[in-house]
Symmetry: C2
Subunit: 385 residues, 2 copies
C-alpha cells in the first residue's frame, strides 16, 4: 500500500500551477466551495461532507498560500494539513454562516476591482446557500466574481504521479473484489444481497469506503446502469453487472464487470465480444494528442459503424478524486489527451428494449499511449449454476 496523503510539495506544485493559470486568465483569486476543490489544494480529507449543513470555503490568492475559511468543527483536522491561515466561525449560524468572515478574507486578499474566479461551467456547482451568495457579492464591494475560465478543470484533468498511484491502488482493490464475485453471486441470491456482499468484498480487499455501487441483473441485459438493487433473485440466463467506485485515500476507481448466470447465449457472447473490441479500439486511440471525441469515435465505429452513440450515456470520462470528472468521451468533447490523464472507457450497447450491456475499464494516458489500471476483461464471465 502506498503511504496515505501527499508530501507538502505536491500541494505547493498544485498551488503554483493554479496561480500560473490564474495569472493568464486575469484572476486575482479563486473561491472554492466543494469537497474535491478544497481537498485538491489542502489535503483536507473527511467524510463529513456527507452533512449538507455547513458551507466550507477556500480562497486561493494570486500569490501566497491558500486561506481556509471553515466551520470551527473542521479546525483540528485542517490544522493537520499544510494550511497555515485558517479562519473559523461557529457554524451553523443562522444570522451569518461564515459570509462576513469570507467577505472579509476576500477583501483582505483581493484588491478593489480585482477578479475572483468561481468554477461555474459544466460539472460544477456552488456549494453554499444561494441567498448567502447574493449577500457575499454585495459585501465584497468593487470586486468582481466571474467564471474561473476552466482553470480548475484543466488543472485537475492531468493527474500527478502520486495521484495516479492512488488511483492504481483503488483499481487493484476492485480487481481483487471482482475476482471474488463467484463467492457471492449465484442463482437464487437476490441482487440486493449481491450488492451488500460485493461492498463487503471491496472493504475486505482494502477499500476505505465504497461510495458507489450500481448494476443490474436481468435476462439477456439490464434496463439501465443506475438503478438500486431489487430483492429479485438471480436466475439462469440473467446478465449480472456490477459497477463500483470504491475509494482508498480519497481516490476512486470506476469500472464494471458482467457475469452470465449459467451458460451465456451465443447472442450475448457476441455482443460482449463487440464491447471488448470497442474497448480495445478506445484504448489504442487514447494516446497523447488524440481528442476525447476521437476516442469516442474509435469505440463507436466498432459498435455501430459510427452512428454517434445513444442518448443514455457516454463512452467514458475522467476519474480521480471524484467518480466522474472531465473530460467526457462524447462527440462534442474536443479535449486533447495528455500524459497523466486518467479515463474510463465505457462503451455500451442496447441489445433490445431495456436490455443494456456495458463494459468499463480504467486507463491512464502515458507518453507512449494508454496503460490499463483495471485488469482488462477479455471474455464474458460465467457463474456456474
Amino acid at each position: 500500500m502506498t503511504p496515505r496523503g501527499f508530501p507538502v510539495e505536491e500541494f505547493r506544485t498544485r498551488t503554483a500551477r493554479a496561480q500560473d493559470a490564474m495569472a493568464k486568465a486575469g484572476l486575482d483569486a479563486l473561491l472554492l466551495t466543494t469537497e474535491p476543490e478544497l481537498r485538491y489544494f489542502t489535503g483536507f480529507l473527511t467524510r463529513f461532507w456527507e452533512s449538507p449543513t455547513r458551507p466550507w470555503f477556500l480562497i486561493l490568492p494570486r500569490t501566497g498560500d491558500p486561506v481556509a475559511v471553515i466551520p470551527a468543527i473542521g479546525a483540528a483536522l485542517m490544522r493537520t494539513t499544510w494550511i497555515a491561515d485558517i479562519r473559523t466561525w461557529r457554524s451553523p449560524d443562522y444570522e451569518d454562516d461564515g459570509v462576513s468572515l469570507l467577505a472579509g478574507a476576500l477583501c483582505d486578499l483581493v484588491a478593489e476591482r480585482g477578479a475572483i474566479g468561481v468554477p461555474s461551467g459544466a460539472e460544477t456547482h456552488l456549494r453554499m446557500p444561494l441567498a448567502d451568495w447574493e449577500v457575499l457579492k454585495r459585501r465584497t464591494g468593487g470586486r468582481v466574481f466571474r467564471d474561473d475560465a476552466g482553470v480548475m478543470r484543466r488543472l485537475r484533468m492531468v493527474k500527478s504521479g502520486a495521484e495516479i498511484e492512488k488511483i492504481r491502488e483503488s483499481c487493484a482493490i476492485a480487481n481483487r473484489a471482482f475476482a471474488r464475485v463467484p463467492e457471492i453471486a449465484r442463482q437464487g441470491v437476490s441482487l440486493a444481497q449481491v450488492f451488500r456482499d460485493f461492498q463487503r468484498l471491496c472493504l475486505e480487499e482494502g477499500a476505505d469506503w465504497v461510495p458507489y455501487v450500481a448494476g443490474g441483473a436481468a435476462p439477456g441485459g439490464y434496463p439501465d446502469v443506475i438503478s438500486p438493487a431489487t430483492e429479485r433473485p438471480l436466475a439462469p440466463g440473467d446478465v449480472l453487472m456490477l459497477d463500483t467506485g470504491l475509494v482508498r485515500d480519497g481516490y476512486f476507481c470506476d469500472f464494471d464487470r458482467n457475469y452470465s448466470v449459467g451458460p451465456a447465449a451465443p447472442e450475448l457472447i457476441r455482443a460482449h465480444d463487440r464491447l471488448i473490441a470497442a474497448t480495445l479500439a478506445g484504448f489504442d486511440r487514447a494516446r497523447p494528442g488524440a481528442t476525447a471525441a476521437e476516442v469516442f469515435a474509435a469505440m463507436d465505429h466498432v459498435l455501430t459503424g459510427g452512428s454517434g452513440g445513444s442518448d443514455a450515456g457516454r463512452f467514458g470520462h475522467g476519474l480521480g478524486m471524484q467518480l466522474t470528472e472531465p473530460p467526457s468521451l462524447i462527440p462534442a468533447d474536443p479535449t486533447v489527451l495528455e500524459p497523466g490523464m486518467v479515463l474510463t472507457l465505457e462503451p455500451g450497447v442496447e441489445l433490445g428494449p431495456d436490455r443494456w450491456l456495458v463494459n468499463e475499464e480504467d486507463i491512464v494516458i502515458g507518453e507512449g499511449g494508454a496503460e490499463w489500471l483495471s485488469d482488462p476483461v477479455r471474455r464474458l464471465a460465467e457463474l456456474p449454476l
Copy 2:
C-alpha cells in the same frame, strides 16, 4: 424488513402539502435540483448522484403533478416512479445541458410574472452550474425566482409514519452492528481496520450502503469527530468512538458509540456518565411544543450549567433522507418540535485540549414525548484487553 419504497399516496400527500404551503407563500412553482429534494416527491432513488457531471431538475407546479426534467440516462428509472411527465435530454451537452428544456418547462407551467421558489436558505445549495443558472434566469422572461420561503425545510422536517419506519429500521441495523464491535476492535488493531470492519458489520446486518463512518481513538478522548481513520493501532487507555450514518432504502440513522480499550479511568467514566445524563435531559425536554433551543439548553445545563456550548458542534440535529437535516439543537434555533420530527441528541464535552467525548442517539417526537430509535447507551462500554 419493511417493504421498499412508498405507496403512491405518500407522494401525492407530500405534493399536496407542498402545494398548500406554496399557495400561502405566493409561489407558483418550486424548482428543485438536489438528490433529496427530487427523491422526496418522486421516489427516484439511485446512487448515481455520486457523479457530479449531470444536472437534474424537478418542477413542482402550484397545481398538478411534479414534472421531471432529467438526463436521458435516468429515464428508465424515473419511469418506474409515479411521475408521468418526464422530459429528457442527452447529457452531458456542452452547449445546452438541459437549460433550454428546463426554461421551456418552466414557461409551460408558470405564467409570466409568476414566482418560482428555489430553496436558498441555510443548509441548501443549487446543484447546477452557476453559468447555467444565469442563463436560466434570462431565458424564463418575466418569471421571478426567489427563495422557497422555507417550504421545503418545514415540509421535510416532519416525517410521515412510513418515513419513521424506515429510519427506525436503519437504526435497528446500526444497533446490531454496534453490538458486534467487540468482534472487530481490540488492542493492536488499527483504527483504519476497525472502520473497514465496522462498515462490513453494517452491511451484514442489512445496510444497503454506508455513506458515513467517522470516529477516533486516542488516550482519554479524541481530537475531533470528523477525521478519517489512521493506521495507528488501538492501545490500552484509548477511547474508541464510532459514528455511523448507514442507509436502508434511502433513509439514514446517525448515532455513535464509545468504547474504552481496557478498563476506563474513573475520570472518563464520570465524563461519560455526564454525557448520558445530558442525553436523557435532552430526551425528556424533546416534546411537542418545546423548541430546538430548549432541548439544547436542557443538555447544556447538565454539561456546563448553561454556558452555551462550544464552537465545534451542536448538540444534535434533524435526520432522515440526509445524514443531517434541520433543525439544529443550538441556542439560536427557535424551531418548535412537532410529532413526526426525527432528531439526534449529540452532546459533547472537551475533557482537555484535543480530548473530546461525544454521545449520540436518535429519537422521534411523538404526541406524548420522545421515543428512542437507537438503543440508548447507559454506561461506557469496555473492550477486554
